[in-house]
């Protein structure tokens, strides 16, 4: 009997079975692809974290520690790629004579490096000019001392006579922060700034100069072992990798207890990646889970569209003496067919979408397949089981009657849910939209899951509210609806409206699905567009302009301003000073600009300035020659009020000393092209030049006429600036690429492509498939209408009217909800953006594509159903 039943349902209802299976396939594929995306994103972040760390561990040895024992402990704890000793010595200062003047610095450090250090850790020291070996001077120190290749620098040792060395090269140290970190301090201790005054010596020379200082003043000399551990066995997930690395470090510390401490740079970077990985996970869940739920809802709805037919069959089986178990078994046949077909299709789709799914994500495939089976059973079998246990045939075939409003509508659950969503959103706002919490010094980042509440409740509440409105319109607004449908249905408009009203549950369900599909597509597309636009804003802020020429004070690129302006494709070029100024004891970056023209070369966003008005801020700077814009942190620290005098110390060109210069505080700046995230200053270039005796502009910002001209401008700019020592040219394209692959960027490209395709499929399925399945149920009605004399165009009127109601109402609701969800997501996930967007970016072409997909699938569904109706109505008529 089971086989007979199976043959029957496959022959009679292939479309419904295929529709339910397709819903399950979409659910399984989307869940599988989403989970794989999250795992891939985490693995990518782990790889980036590892790649960006120069020295994994800095093991600081206590003075009495045995180096050999410490090396052995490290080797026992983990496999090591390389291990290099590094020696640090404190000095009281440096001195150098240049152009008849003598420059001196404050305290500094002298570092001894073995020859193999440069090949073992190539990213720690970058040679700017000169030799790669020998006595190397840190760039800032060279600037302070006015020293260059061949200069003699006097090192003021502690407790020993000064030593003289001859400079062979000038270097930069990109990772100076970690290179000079204070190892072994308690967690939560404020990080120390790296020294500005620094000399690097070959190990032999360092020992010759400082071994005696170690005796005289042991506290002024330290040794560290710089270690890179083997990375190939690290887990892919950042959290797991962090646990692995920090566990090994703790193991070493336990073994060498008392002999040293470890500065675990790799674990610290992985901790940062952990927060970003959590953000990625949150982002993918926020954007992806609604799609998975929508696919599941579609499955349930497709399965439920045959409920009446199944109920009739079960009632007839009961009349003919079938037991409950037999009825449930027959229901299970359909559920199993749908489960197998849907899960198989979904798994194959996941394999097609996810690279290496069969190799790297076997567990994932198994889990999502099980989920698909459970979904199929829930959608088909549970209703069958429930109905089979109804006590009487009459209950099985219970008349529908005129049911009242559902409970949730009478209890205003939709309004309550939306109100709670508003409260939840306000609550999230009050925390500063901190969704992922990674407090400094705390080894584990956590997710503020309460932040999920606002968008989740918005989805739910808006859907319920829409159902209330549609039900009201269908039931109470028949006259209005008939008037609106007259253009499609002609004289049948009133009857069509009546029919829609009587079928309000079915119509509302189909409209809701279409609306949710639109909302999913629109919210995902708007969020992704806004995110992509902000990554460009981030690149603009980082690079400063489309093309940026950066040089030194001694060889400023502004010297070539006229030539740069004359390059083909250049729309505007503006010079900008980049100096340093002491605010109290705090050294900050100072940018000197012409406020009247800086906006020609680079966008000045309102978000850059405290008042939210870029034009006003720049106008104030223009009006106030000695004006300065400072960061909010500086305002708080020094309790500044507009108009207050601020004394900054700037380096004077003549004396090379830092001299006090009066400025007037006129406003707050939050962001500025090329400026760092933390404190910086913006002032008038003319005033800075007059006060420092130095009119050089170290940066030239260039705006291109067209995006495709950026590459050629950069090429020509490099040619123009080639005779400027230390000058380099960067473009926004290169910067965007670097940012997009950086540790802190969540790669949404793959997720975006996946979700946008799914959204189009959902919209087409929700409109077309639902209409086709729903209308197929009413084939008998069309047969009666044909027998009564309805012409083809009149049948089409019924079909088209329902289709238009579903698509138009669904699209209107869905697009509006999509915008609202996107706005809430952008606010709640502010931490993902750098900087946060001022407004949403609307991808109108994609939204147009969604509408077109819905329209096309609807037209197709109506045409196919009309044609099928005509072909089948004769057969149906025979059964009248």
């Amino acid at each position: 009997m089971i086989l007979v039943w199976l043959r029957g349902i496959l022959a009679r209802f292939p479309a419904r079975l295929a529709g339910a299976a397709a819903g399950i396939a979409l659910t399984v594929a989307l869940c599988g692809a989403l989970r794989a995306q999250i795992a891939a994103s985490g693995a990518s972040m782990t790889r980036q974290a590892i790649a960006n760390v120069g020295v994994d561990w800095q093991v600081q040895l206590n003075p009495a520690a045995g180096e050999r024992e410490v090396r052995a402990a490290i080797a026992r704890a983990t496999r090591v790629d390389t291990l290099q000793p590094v020696w640090y010595a404190d000095v009281t200062g440096f001195e150098s004579a240049a152009n008849g003047t003598v420059q001196t610095t404050g305290t500094g450090k002298v570092v001894g490096l073995p020859p193999s250090y440069f090949t073992a850790f190539p990213d720690e020291i970058h040679v700017s000019i000169g030799a790669q070996r020998g006595v190397l001077l840190f760039g800032q120190t060279a600037s302070n001392l006015h020293a260059t290749i061949g200069s003699t620098v006097v090192i003021e040792r502690i407790g020993l006579p000064p030593a003289r060395v001859r400079v062979d090269g000038i270097v930069a140290m990109p990772n100076a922060d970690t290179f000079f970190q204070a190892v072994g301090l308690p967690p939560g201790t404020a990080p120390q700034a790296p020294p500005d005054n620094l000399v690097l010596l070959p190990a032999a020379q360092w020992h010759a100069l400082f071994d005696r200082q170690r005796i005289v003043r042991p506290d002024s000399v330290r040794e560290q072992l710089h270690v890179r551990i083997a990375h190939d066995a690290l887990p892919a997930d950042p959290l797991a990798a962090y646990d692995d690395v920090s566990g090994k470090a703790k193991n070493v510390e336990a073994r060498i207890a008392g002999s040293g401490a470890i500065g675990d740079n790799l674990a610290a970077r992985l901790l940062g990646a952990q927060a970003d990985a959590l953000y990625a996970r949150v982002l993918f869940l926020f954007l992806g889970v609604p799609g998975a739920l929508l696919a599941a809802l579609l499955t349930f709805t497709v399965a439920a569209s045959g409920a009446a037919r199944r109920a009739d069959e079960r009632a007839l089986l009961r009349v003919r003496g079938a037991s409950t178990r037999q009825i449930v078994a027959l229901g299970a046949v359909e559920a199993i067919v749908v489960a197998i077909a849907g899960t198989l299709a979904g798994t194959l789709l996941t394999i097609a979408l996810v690279p290496n799914a069969l190799v790297a994500h076997r567990t994932l495939l198994a889990v999502t397949a099980c989920g698909g089976v459970l979904l199929a059973l829930a959608a088909v079998l549970i209703p069958a089981w429930r109905d089979a246990h109804a006590n009487t045939v009459a209950q099985s075939r219970a008349a529908i009657g005129r049911a009242g409003a559902p409970f949730w509508e009478r209890a205003f659950i939709d309004v309550i849910v939306l109100a709670i969503a508003g409260v939840a959103f306000w609550s999230t706002a009050s925390t500063g939209y901190q969704v992922v919490l990674a407090p400094e010094g705390v080894p584990q980042a956590t997710v503020h899951y309460e932040a999920f509440l606002a968008p989740v409740l918005l989805w739910f509440g808006a859907a319920l509210l829409a159902m209330r409105v549609w039900r009201l319109v269908l039931l109470r607004g028949r006259g209005l609806l008939a008037g609106l449908l007259r253009g499609i249905s002609g004289a049948l408009a009133a009857l069509v409206a009546a029919s829609l009203a009587r079928q309000h549950r079915l119509v509302t369900r189909a409209t809701l699905l279409a609306g949710l599909a639109f909302a999913f597509g629109v919210s995902t597309a708007v969020f992704n567009s806004t995110y992509a636009a902000q990554s460009r804003v981030d690149a603009e802020l980082t690079n400063g302009a489309d093309v940026t020429v950066t040089g030194t004070t001694d060889a400023p690129p502004a010297r070539k301003l006229a030539e740069l302006r004359a390059l083909s494709g250049v729309a505007a070029a503006a010079p900008m000073q980049h100096r340093y100024a002491f605010v109290g004891n705090d050294l900050q970056d100072l940018y000197g600009v012409d406020p009247r023209t800086i906006g020609d070369a680079t966008p000045m966003s309102n978000a850059f300035f405290g008042g939210g008005d870029a034009a006003a801020a720049l106008a104030a700077l223009t009006r106030t020659p000695d004006g300065v814009l400072v960061s909010e942190e500086t305002v708080q620290t020094y309790q500044l009020h507009p108009g207050d005098t601020v004394i900054l110390r700037l380096q004077h060109a003549g004396s090379h000393a830092y001299v006090p210069v009066k400025f007037r505080f006129i406003g707050v700046t939050r962001e500025f092209p090329t400026a760092p995230h933390d404190s910086f200053l913006v002032a008038n270039a003319s005033y800075v030049s007059a006060q420092t005796g130095n009119g050089a502009a170290e940066v030239v910002l260039i705006r291109a006429q067209r995006p495709d001209a950026i590459g050629s401008i950069a090429l020509e700019a490099r040619r123009v600036a080639r005779d400027l020592p230390g000058a380099h040219v960067t473009t926004i394209v290169e910067t965007q690429r670097k940012i997009g692959s950086s540790l802190t960027a969540v790669d949404l490209r793959a997720l975006t492509a996946l979700e946008l395709v799914f959204a189009i499929v959902f919209v087409a399925a929700a409109t077309g498939l639902m209409l086709a399945l729903g209308l197929a149920e009413r084939l008998r009605m069309f047969a009666v209408l044909t027998a009564l004399g309805a012409k083809s165009r009149q049948l089409l009127a019924f079909l088209a009217a329902e289709a238009v109601v579903v698509v138009v109402a669904g699209a209107a609701f869905g697009i509006a909800l999509g915008f609202a969800i996107a706005q809430v997501l952008v606010k709640v996930l502010t931490g993902v953006f750098d900087p946060p967007p001022e407004a949403l970016v609307i991808p109108w072409p994609y939204i147009g594509g969604l509408v077109a997909a819905a329209a096309a699938s609807t037209v197709l569904a109506v045409a196919v159903t009309a044609r099928a109706s005509r072909a089948s109505v004769i057969g149906a008529l025979r059964e009248l």
Binding site: A399, I400, G401, R402, A491, L492, A494, L495, A498, S499, L500, A501, R502, Q503, R780, M781, V784, L785, T786, A787, L788, G789, A790, K791, Q794, I874, L877, R878, L880
Partner: protein, 223 residues
């Protein structure tokens, strides 16, 4: 209205065959008949004898496999329904989403009548069959007998020239059936509508002026 000289429908050598389950079924074989204006015809025969198929061909729903059917007084086949011909099916077939009144008004709306005209005609038809109080009921709220009478009211409301009814009293008890028939025939007499009834019920057949017999697809119109 039709010309009294011309018949409403004429069938010549009409046959209908179709395939089902791999077999060729001959539902109607070489049927010949004429329906005049105002006729009262009872079509009797066992279940499966081809009565419904013959009615559907005569009403223009089905096309014959052989032979021809013409409607001299009514026009071409595609203009028969709903203006000239109406059907009352064995299973009533009221449209579930529409009320009784809306169901009755439907043929008039399909003809292009205004909503007001259709509603008025529906009200008259329901009143004629003493069904006015059921006007706002949905089909699922009606008994079988009520639904059957409303289906007949739907057929009558548009004032066609010819009505085909398949077992119109099948779900009525004797007393109700008698009352219903009396009302229906009186209304049809007053309006000159012809009626062809497929029935097992001898009381219904006895009220018709002409008796046709259908047996294994073959039609006998002679007494």
């Amino acid at each position: 209205m039709s010309s009294k000289a011309e018949p409403l429908a004429v069938a010549r050598g009409v046959s209908r065959t179709y395939r089902a389950g791999g077999e060729t079924i001959v539902a109607v074989r070489d049927a010949e008949c004429t329906i005049d204006a105002g006729a009262r015809i009872a079509l009797v025969g066992a279940s499966g004898s081809g009565k419904s198929t013959l009615l559907q061909m005569l009403g223009g729903i089905e096309t014959p496999s052989a032979g021809e059917i013409v409607w001299p007084a009514l026009g071409p086949r595609d203009s028969l329904r709903p203006r000239h011909v109406a059907f009352v099916f064995q299973n009533q077939n009221l449209l579930a989403p529409l009320t009784a009144a809306e169901n009755v008004a439907l043929p008039l709306v399909l003809q292009g009548a205004s909503n007001a005209q259709a509603r008025a005609a529906a009200a008259r038809a329901l009143a004629a069959f003493e069904l006015a109080e059921l006007r706002d009921k949905l089909p699922e709220e009606l008994s079988g007998g009520q639904a059957q009478r409303i289906a007949f009211a739907r057929a009558v409301a548009a004032r066609p020239e010819l009505i085909f009814a398949d077992e119109p009293t099948g779900q009525l008890d004797s007393a109700t059936a008698d009352r219903f028939l009396a009302t229906a025939l009186a209304l049809l007499d007053a309006t000159g509508i012809a009626l062809v009834v497929a029935t097992h019920d001898e009381r219904v057949a006895a009220r018709m002026a002409v008796r046709w017999t259908m047996e294994h697809g073959e039609l006998r119109t002679a007494p």
